[in-house]
């Protein structure tokens, strides 16, 4: 009888299973809600780079270089898009080996209107991931702003994203060895931020300081725009972190919540640290702390709870403050807009603390079965060190080769006159 009934209703059950998300075994059906959120998240993460990061950076450089950094971010966005559909997506996300994908999905082959990735169209998954491959190189721009040749920048970015970003992305998210080993990186602390920070640091050192740094004033030309950019980064980051769940569910919701909390905590921490040590709280400090919080919560966002986020934001706000205000000055490298100081350091702090606050006892989603907190933190360190070493060495080689072949820097006089006029025959402001 029960057998009869099962048979009788089985077509319906199959139908149900096929069309409904959340039922076990139904991951291969499109869910319109998840898709809606991922379309939105893709737009939000693109929004982070253009206009968000562009404005954040443009406001911090001198007036005569404002356009040049915006143009770098925008061009990176375009270049990565084309490379992505040609071969990068395939390198990063096709099966390949533990170290790199293959070219089986080059030219987006196999990605049709009906291809799914979980409950969302693969086209959306691919575009969402593309926006990460856009913002990562764009972040590096902050380290060498105001002195790099545009052509050298293009070459560097095209090569770097192919031989550094794509493999590391594959290691963590594409089925590679770091992911397999259990390193936790929900939305890109390692892949995006440490990666960009280290490449930036190497670039800053290889290229040398800006003319006049640090003796003569390097004042931000338009902090109003920088604050706008920071606000856009914050808003867009909801797509970055909550979007990394690839679904509109409770994990995405919690990822958004902890993002909000850590950002606020990072901002207040930097502000109060500055207030205490310098005597006044500054707007640039406040938003720098916000970005520090955003960076650090990124790897942790799907794993920790609100109180863990508070702690992570606090740690990152303070750590990045020290890094930018003290460490950079001590060592004397010219990381123009603190790509390393905020993204590198914040990424490392976040990656480590993800291993701590994932613990259910601290409000997190819980450690994997049989993995102790110490073990998880150890794995996190493996991820961090692997990224630093690989990215550091390869970035260095690319830069050195390019420097010898085409030269990385503009001439001293061109730097004096400003990149906008010299490289682009334009001015940012004609007022």
């Amino acid at each position: 009888m029960s057998n009869f009934l099962f048979k009788a209703c089985s077509p319906i059950i199959l139908l149900l299973a096929a069309i409904m998300p959340g039922i076990a075994g139904a991951q291969d059906a499109l869910d319109s809600g998840d898709t809606a959120w991922m379309l939105t998240s893709t737009a939000l993460v693109l929004f982070m780079t253009i206009p968000g990061l562009s404005l954040f950076y443009a406001g911090m450089v001198k007036e005569k270089n404002a356009l040049s950094v915006m143009m770098q971010c925008f061009t990176i966005c375009c270049l990565m898009t084309v490379l992505w559909v040609l071969y990068l997506y395939s390198l990063a996300f096709s099966d390949g080996s533990a170290f790199i994908g293959d070219l089986s999905m080059a030219f987006m082959s196999g990605v049709g209107v009906d291809s799914l990735s979980g409950t969302i169209p693969e086209s959306v998954f691919s575009m969402f991931q593309l926006t990460f491959a856009i913002i990562t190189p764009a972040l590096i721009v902050g380290a060498f702003a105001e002195r790099m040749k545009f052509s050298a920048m293009l070459w560097f970015m095209a090569i770097w994203v192919s031989v550094v970003y794509a493999p590391i992305c594959h290691w963590v998210w594409g089925g590679g060895w770091l992911g397999e080993m259990g390193v936790l990186d929900f939305a890109g602390g390692t892949v995006v931020h440490i990666n960009a920070g280290i490449a930036g640091l190497v670039a800053a050192i290889v290229m040398g300081k800006r003319r006049g740094y640090p003796e003569s004033p390097m004042k931000p030309s338009n902090l109003v725009l920088t604050m706008v950019g920071a606000a856009m980064l914050w808003v867009g980051w909801f797509g970055f972190n909550a979007g990394s769940e690839l679904a509109a569910d409770g994990v995405a919701g919690m990822a958004m919540a902890v993002t909000q909390v850590a950002t606020a905590a990072g901002a207040l921490t930097w502000m109060f640290a500055e207030w205490k040590s310098h005597g006044k709280p500054s707007a640039l400090g406040l938003v720098s702390g916000a970005v520090a919080g955003l960076v650090a919560i990124t790897p942790a966002s799907g794993f920790v709870g609100p109180m863990g986020a508070l702690a992570i934001g606090f740690a990152s706000g303070f750590g990045c403050y020290i890094s930018v205000v003290k460490i950079k000055r001590t060592f004397g490298y010219d990381d123009s807009l603190d790509a390393f100081g905020v993204h590198g350091i914040g990424g490392i702090i976040g990656a480590v603390l993800t291993g701590v606050f994932v613990d259910a006892g601290l409000g997190g989603a819980g450690l994997a079965d049989g993995v102790s907190m110490a073990a998880q933190v150890g794995k996190q360190f493996v991820g961090i060190v692997a990224t630093i070493v690989y990215c550091g060495i390869v970035s260095f080689i690319i830069l050195k080769v390019l420097d010898n072949v085409i030269g990385l820097r503009v001439s001293e006089q061109d730097e004096q006159e400003g990149l906008d006029l010299v490289l682009h025959d334009e001015q940012g402001y004609n007022m």
Binding site: P217, K219, E274, K280, S282, L284, S288, V324, V325, K326
Partner: protein
């Protein structure tokens, strides 16, 4: 004719302009400038980099006046621009050889 050049605190511009008008000066040309002198500047801080800014925003007024007006004009400026605190500025007087009104070609005192 003389050219009176005054460097004043920017927020005093309106008062000085009125005082000059009252004194009979009918035209003037105003420039935003930065001043350096006894008055101390301020400090700016950007991500730990401290800059001391010595130059202070000032406003420069240039007015060409006929010789007989000079004294009362200077008087008008001094009394309207003074706040008594450091940085109130200066008034300079120099000779003017000739003045021409572009619209009409008039010259001399008539051109003022």
């Amino acid at each position: 004719m003389k050219l009176i050049t005054a460097v004043i605190k920017p927020f005093k511009l309106e008062e000085v302009r009125e005082a000059l008008a009252e004194a009979g000066v009918q035209g003037m040309t105003v420039t935003e400038v930065k001043g350096f002198g006894r008055q101390k500047g301020h400090t700016e801080l950007y991500r730990g980099a401290e800059y001391s800014v010595d130059f202070i925003p000032k406003t420069k007024i240039e007015a060409a006046v006929s010789d007989e007006l000079v004294e009362v004009a200077v008087e008008a400026i001094v009394s309207s621009a003074a706040t008594g605190s450091i940085g109130d500025g200066k008034v300079f007087i120099s000779d003017l050889g000739q003045v021409t009104r572009i619209r009409t070609g008039e010259t001399g005192d008539q051109a003022l």
